[in-house]
Each structure stands twice: as structure tokens, then as C-alpha cells.
Symmetry: C2
Subunit: 425 residues, 2 copies
């Protein structure tokens, strides 16, 4: 089954907000083995919405629209859909009753604006929204001699996700299975991603060699990311079982070649993988963060259950904090400076001792945009790693971008800890 996504909203077109909805919906649909062919976004303008509905209906079996379903004057998706399909709005009694119930729960009167949400295209099936007032819309039409499902959902992410997971995906799975012969593509596409680190893209490409032969004509993409290169294998096959079998076989082939560099697959994060290793071994971790100000700890504690191995740390932004709360020698700071191998080492071993942790990690650097010197330009970062046996600090020079430097420092700290855990037991 092929899909196209249409996002409605001036705030998207103007670039005021990032279109996270489209990525989330596409990811959910891709996981079903369906192929998302195109994303589109237009402003709150009825004629452009109609033109896009028409175009995307020619392209795909299913068009999922988000945004423009709210109660305010700039919401015009429902108007566009009725005009496009030559339909009319009629009162949908179950929706009205649901809105009355919701307002009672909130201790408020049902006003005219909210009640208008019960007006739905006569040929559509409203999808009850338990997280807001605008119901979703499910509309089956014929276009270009083939069936098309048009789905419209509110743009509020929480409401959209609820409607996708609880109303749309279950219906679409049934629809897909009942209409296979009538839909544009019966072929199933599946993919998996191997996450590598510690090897640059060109070296990885050399290692992989002839992609066509190795992957038997299926697709391989090299996707650079902060932690390293992601390898995405995409296979297409007539049935889900064939695609699954092929994907597993090709993944095993590729994996055998790049194994030493793989830290995870698909949605795995470095912080979750590192956390799992620490937990398996019953080891603990503490951090001392200067230029990252807490970003490493924030990443580590993004992982549910991280209290099993993350004890905490010190955001030692000032020099005084480095000496008083982590135990860096004042002479070290005076002689080598806050951004130095020596300070990074003392921060790592100091935080490890103070927290009685198995591992200590320290980050100290010049994030920028100011503070650089000819010796230590903006982007200079020292990352320290200490365990009971030794302390090691490594030097990096990133860019002149503050946000990038801080993010990259955190990623490299996690990479080094992962590598350290790979070679130690």
C-alpha cells in the first residue's frame, strides 16, 4: 500500500515549527511495510489544500492529512475536503454527544464554536478523539479509477498520535488486507538500520565493497549521524514473509562484515546501549560536565531505569566548582587551564571517587562562540574517562558552532565509554 502525507498550516510553511508529525506518521506507516511516497505541506489556504488532495490521490492509495481541523478561523481542512469531494457538512450525533460529555467533564458549557466540530462531511466516518475536541475524518473515495482513503487528523501531536494509533492504523491494516488486489502496490517494503561508530563513511564503504552483489540488488544507504554512520538496508518483496526472510539474511551478511563497529540497530540510542552494558555488569557511572552544563547527564537519564547505573554528577561550570566539588587541584587549573588534558583527567577521576562510581566521565571545552585562543580555539574539547585502574583524556577540535560542539562532545563521550566497555569485562 502506498501513502502520501499532507500537512496543513502556515506555521509549518513559514518554518516557525518543525514538521515532526510527518516524520512520526511516516515512521509508523513504514513499520507496517507500507511505502510513504511523498510528504507535502501547504498553508491554511483552501484552494491549495484541494489541489494537493487531488494530486496526492493520483499518487497514493492513502492520503493522511494533519492540521487545520481545530475550531479557530484559520482551520479550513474540513471546508476544503467537502468542497473537493462535492460533499456537505451534516451534524454527526455521536460526535455532538461526545463533545457534550467532554465539556461536562471539564465543567464548561458547550459553546457554538466547539459544537461546530460535530459538523462532519456526510460521506465520511468521524474518528472519535479522546484527547481533544476535533474528531478525525475517514473518507473513502474513487479517484483516477482506483480507491483512495483520505484521512484527516488534528495537528496537535498528542491528539494526532492517539488517533493514528487507536483509530487509523487498526482500520488501515484491515483496509489493506481487504483491498490488496485493488491497491497500487501489493509489494511489501521493510528496512532495518545498523548503527556503526568509530569508522568514517569512506572506510566503511571500502569495507562493505560491492553493494549490488552483497545486497543482491536490494538497497543500502549510508547515513552519517553524530555518533557514526548508519547503514540502512531496504528490501522489497511480494509478501511480508519473503521481505522479512530476505531482510534477515542480508542484514546477517552485512553485519558479519562490519560487526566490530556496530553498537546497535534501528532506534537504539548510544545512551540506552551503554546503560544496558553498565546494568548487565552491575557498574555505576558519574559525570563532571563543564562546557556541556548537564547535557551528558540529561542524555543518560533520558533512559528509563537509568538510576540503576547513573549516580549523578556535578555541573562544574565555574572553576571554583571544579576544585570545590570535583577535587581538581587549583595548581592544575593555574598551570594548564580548565580546558586541558590534566583538568579533564582530574575531573574524571575526581567525580568517580566522590560518587564512589565505577566510571567517571568528564567533559571540558570551549563551546564558543567566544573564549577561544590561538592555542585552544573554539571547539576544543577534552573528554576524560576514568575507571579504578586508569584515567585517560582525549582531545577533540570540533567546529565554531556552540550547539554542535556541545552535542558532539556528549556523543563522543558516550562513544568512548561504549568502546571502553567493549574491550573491558
Amino acid at each position: 500500500m502506498n501513502l502520501a502525507l499532507l500537512t496543513i498550516g502556515d506555521e509549518i510553511c513559514l518554518g516557525q515549527i518543525v514538521n515532526t508529525n510527518a516524520a512520526w506518521i511516516a515512521d509508523q506507516c513504514s513499520r507496517q511495510g507500507w511505502r510513504v511516497l511523498a510528504h507535502s505541506a501547504v498553508g491554511d489556504a483552501i484552494q491549495m489544500i484541494i489541489a494537493e488532495c487531488e494530486r496526492l490521490s493520483g499518487l497514493a492509495d492513502v492520503v493522511i492529512i494533519t492540521g487545520g481541523l481545530g475550531p479557530t478561523h484559520d482551520d479550513c481542512t474540513k471546508t476544503a475536503l467537502t468542497e473537493w469531494t462535492g460533499d456537505v457538512l451534516v451534524e454527526h450525533k455521536p460526535t455532538l454527544e461526545h463533545l457534550q460529555y467532554v465539556m461536562r467533564q471539564r465543567g464548561r458549557e458547550l459553546n457554538a464554536r466547539t459544537a461546530a466540530q460535530a459538523m462532519q462531511p456526510s460521506r465520511s466516518t468521524p474518528l472519535q478523539n479522546d484527547k481533544g475536541t476535533a474528531p478525525g475524518i475517514w473518507l473513502e473515495i474513487e479517484r483516477y479509477g482506483k480507491p483512495v482513503v483520505i484521512i484527516a487528523l488534528p495537528g496537535v501531536p498528542q491528539e494526532m498520535r492517539h488517533l493514528m494509533l487507536d483509530r487509523v492504523l487498526p482500520r488501515l491494516r484491515v483496509y489493506d488486507s481487504q483491498n490488496t488486489s485493488r491497491l497500487a502496490h501489493g509489494w511489501v517494503m521493510l528496512y532495518t538500520t545498523l548503527l556503526t561508530t568509530g569508522i568514517v563513511e569512506s572506510a566503511l564503504a571500502d569495507l562493505v565493497g560491492d553493494v549490488q552483489t552483497l545486497l543482491e540488488g536490494q538497497e543500502l544507504a549510508f547515513l552519517p549521524s553524530a555518533a557514526g554512520v548508519k547503514l540502512r538496508i531496504t528490501v522489497t518483496a511480494p509478501t511480508r514473509d519473503e521481505a522479512q526472510t530476505l531482510l534477515e539474511r542480508l542484514t546477517a551478511k552485512l553485519r558479519s562484515i562490519v560487526e566490530p563497529y556496530i553498537y546497535g540497530t534501528n532506534d537504539d540510542t548510544l545512551e540506552a546501549i551503554v546503560g544496558q552494558r553498565l546494568r548487565e555488569r552491575g557498574k555505576t557511572l558519574a559525570v563532571a560536565e563543564s562546557c556541556t552544563g548537564g547535557l551528558l547527564g540529561a542524555r543518560l537519564t533520558d533512559v528509563a531505569g537509568s538510576s540503576a547505573y547513573f549516580l549523578g554528577g556535578v555541573q562544574c561550570y565555574s572553576n571554583e566548582a571544579k576544585t570545590r566539588f570535583v577535587g581538581v587541584q587549583p595548581e592544575t587549573l593555574a598551570q594548564h587551564g580548565a580546558v586541558s588534558e590534566q583538568t579533564a583527567g582530574e575531573l574524571a577521576s575526581g567525580i568517580r571517587k566522590r560518587f564512589d562510581a565505577d566510571y567517571g566521565i568528564a567533559i571540558t571545552g570551549i563551546a564558543g562562540p567566544d573564549g577561544g585562543t590561538p592555542d585552544k580555539p573554539v571547539g576544543t574539547v577534552w573528554i576524560g574517562l576514568a575507571d579504578a585502574h586508569s584515567t585517560h583524556a582525549e582531545h577533540f577540535v570540533f567546529t565554531n558552532d556552540r550547539t554542535f560542539n556541545r552535542e558532539r562532545a556528549v556523543v563522543m563521550a558516550l562513544v568512548r565509554l561504549w568502546q571502553h566497555l567493549q574491550v573491558t569485562t
Copy 2:
């Protein structure tokens, strides 16, 4: 001038990554007073790219393409462009020389794959890329009896931003001024956003009253965000000067009504505004973070120059860290628990004292998904705020989503500090 954006890449279509490039480019163009009419994204498929180039050229004066310019086999934007315009690729000598220079700098040989980046559409102007190997493409064509500029940029955000800021925007400004009469729209659209906090959307709408009259027919959008509701005023006028004058007048009108709730405008962040207040008053801040693990410190130190007021903090994830490094009484933890008014208060006042700071902020909560009890469900957060005179802790119950709870806790801590700084001198 009207624009359309086209993003190329399977990883976008499949939803593996969020399309942050489109939002960033749209924002940059909107700030110039140009109108971005549509965003589109398709996979690495030549025929779909060509179809989109054709369609978007009909819609807009400028089409900005990102992605698919790299050296690997799945990069096909250049092929699509040459095929679409009936052009051929020719070697662009300055690009080749630049690539040779870059490779020498990196101490590497110029291989065939990288050298192929010097092959450019014969009718285009290559845009030198100082952050990578793929040059951007600037191509002026005629379509549907009007001029269209086609711009293609690499998808790597750092390279794309460099090319947009240093090559594309300056050229586009000149192009716009030289072609005003030939371009689809001469009208200029400008907008500004007032950032409010401490008032809910419906109360804000009541306060604003009749939008049509107040804004004289221009547009006002209510955009909910974590910190509060953003009010975006958009005006359209025949000239830039008229738009600017109108925007300033309407903004002043709206501002006079909602003034007490405004913490900033446009791209202002709470952390930058709070930082500015602290800096103006010569005050300092320290933080104690339990469930956020460093996220508040990370946000505060996102701001360049934050070392002037942010001294640091303790990521007191474990109970032991709370007592040993922040000075919470063990009896307090035993009697009230780590997530309590008493602990939040002792963390805030304790961290303030240990760091000799003017203000201490503490966050302690149950981020989830586990760890909730009937008394203290997942999403329970206590935020403590201490100054030299008093300590106060406030109770929140957010959602069952770990990431959301942590983000919201950090935002509310910043909101409370901002409000505190508003009422104190």
C-alpha cells in the same frame, strides 16, 4: 517573491529523520519577507524528483532543493536536474581545484568518487561549499512563461546552512530586487511573535477580544508551546516599508493588552531572557537536578556567555547524592521521600548555599514510566526556588510520558524563575 521547498531522501519519506532543513530554510526565507508556499519531500527517485521540480516551478518563483547531492549511488538530484532541463554535466574547473585543495588539507588523495562532484549542469552556477565536498547548484530557467530559480543544496544541515547563509540568501536578495516586476507576487509578508506565559489560551483569547478589529483585518495566530501561548501577528502589504510600519503598529497595540504575560519576542528563549535578567542584576544561579539529570543546566548553558551567572549544579540522581552533595537531611528523605515539598526546598536552598549563589533551583520528580504510586503518580514533580530571603516549592502533575515530563519540568522551572525575577528587584 514566492518559494517552494523540495527535500530529497528516502530517510525523510520513511520518517527515519525529521525534516529540520525545511523548517530552517522556510524560516530564513520568511524573515526576508518572502512567502514559502509549499514544502514537499520525495524519496531518492529520479522521476518523482523531476515531477516535483516541474510542479513546484509552476507554483513558485524559487525552488530550493535539499538532499541527494552527495557522492554515493543513492544521490540523484544532479541527474534529475540535468534530465529535467535537458542539460548535460560538464567539469567545473574551480570546483575541481577546490576539491583538490580540500583533500590536500585533509591529507588525502582526490578519488574518482569525490572528483565526480566537480561535474555540474552546464547551464548552472556551482556554489562553492566550504564545509563539504558537494557544491550547491544555482540554475535560472524559464517555466510557464516566467523565470524560476532552481537551487540545490546538500542535505547535511551544517553544509546546507553555510550555503544558504553565505551563498544563496545574498544572491536571492539581489535577484529579488532585480526581478520584482517579473515575479509572481510583489506583496511583502512580515510577521512577529509575542511569547507569553502564565495565561491559558482561552483566557488570552478573551483578553485579546475581537481579533478582526484589533488587527485591522491582518492575521493573528494563537500557537500553544511548552512555556505558554505564542501570539503570531502576520501582515501583508504592497511594500516592505508599509508592511514594517503596519506590523510595528499592530504589535504595539497587541502588546499593550497582554504586556504582563510577555516574556519575549520571536526567537527569544526563556533561558536567554532569564540569563539576561540575571546578568543585568549581577545575580548568580545554581541548580540541583534529580529527575532531569542535567537538562536544566544544559538549557541554561545553551546560552553563550552563561558563565556570567550560571555557577553550576549537582545532578543528584541518587538519594546519596542529594544528602552528600546538596545537603538534604537524611531524615527529610526518610520522612517525606525524594519527591516532596520538603526535599525540593532543601535541594534549592542547599545548592544555593553550597555554590554561594543568589538563586538556587531544584527539580525532583517521577519522570516515569515506572516509579509512580497512588500518592505520587508518574508525572509528579516538585520545583524548588530559593533566594537569600525565602524558599518555595511548587507541585506539578504532568503526564505519563518521561520525555515530556522532563522537558516540561525544565520549562516550568525557567518560567517560575522568570516570574520571580519580574516581581523582585
